[in-house]
Point group: C2
Chain length 391, copies 2
């Protein structure tokens, strides 16, 4: 079969698509073909680039002028390096040269001759049938993922905690993560089709790639879910339609609801920014050691303190409103508190307490000033305290 | 002897000084006292902070309100962490508390109690007598160092190449560096006092710290040189007078003059930006392998090429003016060429060639358009070619 190819493409468009492909491709590969992308050009359909690392696959369909169709595998990293050094926005010609037995990449007075690999050696991309498909606003999805991921387990010791749990809950779609010390739960209005989706766990790596892809876009994203794969389709840039798909995490997410549906009746309310700054300062002396800070809460003020026998101690006061007549002491890992509080975008934050050793709820306080423009999104965090240190 | 202390200082000023101190202090120290700064307050002289890593010493004299004098050693890293989290520009009180046997750092509603070490344990700072002292414009010194350092040896295998050689040459002061593959030589008008200074080698680390210090300043810098030390004194920020001193490299700098005072009569002139971009693109295929690119020079154009048997090849054409009737071939390490060319700020660059295996001179071409506003500074680079690769 004759295999030729000639096409003309805008430098910026090709660079964007190659950037996508290189997100999931490692430069150094034990199996060389996995460092390559499959380039397929047809006079009818334009240019199609496929990259895979076996777990994740990214396919870009690109508008461009194809003069002659063909299929080749080209080194993803090298091709990106070359294209990104070309004059921005210039026309680039990609063509097969039988003489060199290579792909020629030319633009202005530059000419590259790139060795290719046989497209028949490219890993087959399974044709997944998805059970559920729904569309979402990319901004809402991005916010939900960004907030939920704060509580993801960071190390790779337990796969089922190493991602975001998505499941329908009535007419809401929930994004939940936990590392067993804290929980982040974001609920958004579920598209009707999503209300029947099975519960799934999307891996940390997948979440990261989706966020990068969404960052470049401002449109709707179509989400497709099967038993073991999820796919995101969107217009990722002018002239590029991208489908990113990934294997789901096969595991059972922990029963998290009991820990957020608690009846904590001690209510602390304070300025979010004040709280963050006070924790940040006090934690300076406990970083790299216990990381534990103590909150001594009274009806109108709270004293935060930290102590390190080696370095010294820190103390800080903030104004609060607390509904309990008795002073209350509780200790937290300062990093967990800080990371959660940084996701709170309301000026005031509400902390719901029960005892010094039980799950504590942290929520935006919308009672006074609801300046949020995302009325369809609600968030709740639960943080486990640490043992009270005697000081 | 009673040792007390109380002073009030602006957060921004203290943070700046502590940033300086932490440049030369490592957080983790086998000898704990080396992670501390010496804090000396006197009602007459203000606040003096001293940090040392034995090779380098930095002393900051700071204007502030001292209510009671005293001397303590405080942990440099922790103190900076605390101060930089305080409200920008706030008043900070540093005082000794006999009750806590600690230094209290307070500002607004924050209070830190920091364990100190005995100032008598701080390493003694030698009182160097300098033989030569001269003043320079900080901008000129910064430019000269920045240009010369491009040719410094990057690894630490040969101390005497691991820095910048400063020496007077007639009424000029020269800054020279070489890694034996290339030479960078910058000449500036020498202050009269500098014309009698001994030749010295300033270490890479010292050069780096001086550049950071100068970055923060726009004044004159006083340079003091002794047989084995160099000191830089300047007003590094409003309210802070800084003296940074460092041990010189003890060694003999190679005889570099023969390699730059050559009679290369083949003269190539071209647009600097075009040259940089062409090398950058062509080098894509040879990076991580030979890194060698070939220049095929004709009277009106030059073809740059690179080849990798694994990846493919690249070729690029640029317009040039070459004074030799015969075509000329020469190969260079592309990184060496690129790094040197990036220091050329004139639109045109001049390359003086002799043979394909001898030292090649690269210089700004001031003949057409002298847009440089540094008439007292001249630079010259020498680059050794690599063997011509058959392609």
């Amino acid at each position: 079969m004759e295999n030729n190819m000639k096409l003309i493409i805008n430098q910026k468009v090709l660079e964007k698509a190659l950037v996508h492909a290189n997100w999931i491709i490692e430069r150094k590969q034990a199996v060389p073909i996995l460092g390559y992308i499959l380039v397929e050009a047809s006079t009818e359909a334009g240019l199609k680039l496929t990259a895979t690392n076996m777990d994740m696959t990214i396919v870009d369909l690109i508008e461009c002028e194809v003069l002659e169709g063909g299929r080749f595998c080209l080194p993803a990293g090298l091709l990106l390096d070359i294209i990104k050094k070309m004059k921005p926005g210039a026309d680039i010609v990609l063509e097969h040269s039988s003489q060199n037995n290579a792909i020629l990449v030319t633009s202005n007075r530059s000419s590259f001759s790139i060795n290719y690999m046989d497209p028949e050696g490219f890993p087959p991309i399974a044709n997944t049938t998805y059970d559920v498909e729904f569309s979402m606003n990319t901004g809402v999805m991005k916010d939900a993922i960004n907030i939920a991921k704060v509580a993801m387990l960071q190390d790779n010791t337990r796969f089922h905690l190493n991602g975001i749990h998505m499941h329908p809950e009535g007419d809401k779609l929930r994004f939940v993560a936990t590392d067993l010390y804290r929980i982040a739960c974001v609920s958004i209005s579920a598209p009707v089709e999503a209300q029947s989706m099975p519960p799934i766990i999307v891996s940390k790596r997948t979440v990261g790639e989706v966020l990068k892809l969404i960052d470049a876009s401002s449109e709707e994203v179509k989400v497709s879910v099967s038993e073991n794969r999820i796919a995101f389709s969107l217009k990722s840039a002018p002239g590029i339609q991208t489908e990113f798909s990934a294997r789901l995490i096969n595991g059972t997410f922990p029963e998290y609801k009991a820990a957020i549906e608690v009846m904590n009746d001690k209510i602390l309310s304070l300025n979010t920014e004040d709280f963050i700054e006070a924790i940040d300062r006090v934690s300076t002396v406990v970083l790299n050691s216990s990381n534990s800070i103590k909150l001594h809460i009274q009806s109108d003020k709270m004293v935060l303190s930290g102590i390190s026998h080696e370095l010294g101690s820190a103390e800080e006061e903030v104004d609060v409103v607390f509904n309990s007549p008795e002073p209350f002491d509780i200790c937290f890992n300062s990093r967990y508190l800080l990371e959660v509080l940084k996701e709170i975008t309301t000026p005031q934050v509400k902390v719901l307490l029960a005892t010094s050793s039980s799950s504590t709820i942290i929520q935006p306080d919308n009672s006074e000033d609801n300046s949020e423009d995302t009325p369809d999104m609600s968030m709740i965090f639960a943080v486990m305290p640490v043992e009270i240190v005697q000081s």
